[in-house]
């Protein structure tokens, strides 16, 4: 398990691994929003939490179709499936590696990009906290989607369609927590719900993804 985790990290960080793709996309979206909205700092302040959350979600989505497809194409997934590692564990570990290489950089970059969107000072802490709580769920749901579409050529479109509805609760409560904090309200309730969704996803999704993968490998 640990070997698989570190192999995935090494592969992501080396040339052609796609590390930074999500981060660069996040950066581009957030930098372009002020240009498209125009120089209205009050409006930007208002939409900043939502834009940051949406940008992070789409950036996460962007790298999902390679999550299992690479291992499928070079045959490593078949070999892993016949190894002592359970498929549920394989998917969970790969989702964890995906979070470390995609979700974590987004969490760390969000406060810096918040400045560009004129985010209210009171919102920074909760924005980072909500992203840190929510992005693991995005990676794990994404891994489930990747397991569903593994083996389909150019399955990215199907993957997005399958995964986006499952992302909605996380987006609603994550953005809501950040918005409430930015407006000086108490963000505790949406944060608790966000954490609850993430925990449920982390508990259930590896088993769903493992079962789906077992069918898809046949």
């Amino acid at each position: 398990m640990r070997a698989l985790f570190f192999r995935d990290l090494a592969l992501a960080l080396r040339a052609g691994g796609g590390f930074g793709l999500g981060l660069a996309f996040f950066l581009i979206v957030v930098v372009l929003v002020p240009f498209s909205v125009g120089p209205q700092s009050a409006l930007l302040t208002e939409i900043a939490p939502g834009v940051l959350w949406l940008g992070a979600l789409l950036a996460c989505l962007l790298s999902l179709d390679r999550l299992l497809a690479v291992d499928w194409e070079d045959g490593a997934l078949d070999l892993l499936a016949t190894s002592p590692l359970p498929l549920e564990g394989i998917v969970a570990v790969k989702a964890a590696a995906h979070w470390v290489t995609t979700g974590l950089p987004l969490v760390l970059a969000a406060p810096v990009l918040g400045v560009l969107l004129n985010l209210a000072p009171s919102g920074y802490g909760v924005l980072v906290l909500s992203l840190a709580l929510g992005t693991p769920a995005l990676s794990m749901i994404g891994a489930f989607g990747a397991a569903l579409t593994v083996g389909i050529k150019r399955g990215g479109l199907l993957l997005s369609l399958l995964v986006l509805p499952l992302y909605v609760p996380t987006l609603i409560f994550g953005a809501e927590a950040a918005r409430r904090a930015a407006q000086g309200l108490d963000p505790a309730t949406p944060l608790f719900l966000l954490a609850g969704i993430t925990l449920a996803v982390l508990a259930a999704m590896p088993f769903a993804a493992g079962a789906v993968l077992r069918v898809n490998l046949r």
Binding site: D74, G75, T82, V215
Partner: protein
């Protein structure tokens, strides 16, 4: 008894390919599957390896005894030869990769990225993976593809060594490895065509 297959029927995409296949494999024994392209050798091997479920019949195998090697080697182009091999060794709970490197003459290539290897070198690395699994039953699908004569000899030596140490091997291959092995021609087990009976698969 390492592996026993009784009255096995296998299919690909819900269509039966082979039916009534029975064989057994004991310690120190090698069994070579033969048959023309598309006769179902790969499907049979995938079923034996546990990647597919049989349509009928049984595969008796001890848990976690099989090392499977497919057409694709599962190598990562961005990792070096040693890193690739070490990864598979640790997945299978082993640590020593030196004998595998020596057996397939890969010692000079340890620091080379797998993406820069030739097709034959990649294959050798893929086969060296078998030796770091520590598993008894090798299930090999066309192991000698893109190997030159010298490498085929290396592979035959590796298989012989594996058999001598109490392992066994089931392989689909078209060339004669010079190993004492029984042969099973799968073309005699072709399933009756177009019998889409139990289409209970979720994704065909």
């Amino acid at each position: 008894m390492e592996l026993k297959v009784t009255d096995l029927a296998v299919g690909r995409g819900g269509v039966p390919v082979l039916a009534g296949v029975s064989f057994s494999l004991t310690t120190g024994q090698a069994l070579v599957l033969r048959g023309p392209n598309g006769s179902g050798k790969t499907t049979l091997l995938r079923t034996v390896a546990g990647l597919q479920v049989p349509m009928a019949g049984q595969v008796h195998r001890a848990e976690d005894r099989i090392a499977y090697a497919a057409h694709a080697d599962g190598l990562k182009a961005a990792l070096t030869v040693a890193e690739n091999l070490r990864f598979w060794a640790s997945v299978f709970g082993q640590s020593d990769i030196a004998p595998a490197l020596a057996a397939f003459d890969l010692e000079d290539l340890v620091e080379r990225r797998a993406g820069q290897l030739s097709a034959g070198q990649k294959r050798r690395l893929g086969l060296a993976r078998l030796m770091v699994t520590g598993r008894d039953v090798w299930v090999l699908d066309e192991p000698t593809v893109s190997l030159d004569t010298a490498s085929v000899a290396l592979f035959a030596d590796a298989v012989r060594g594996h058999l001598a140490h109490g392992g066994s091997a089931l392989m689909a291959t078209h060339i004669d490895l010079g190993i004492e092995a029984e042969t099973l021609d799968v073309s005699g087990f072709r399933a009756a065509a177009a019998q889409m009976a139990s289409a209970d698969e979720a994704f065909l």
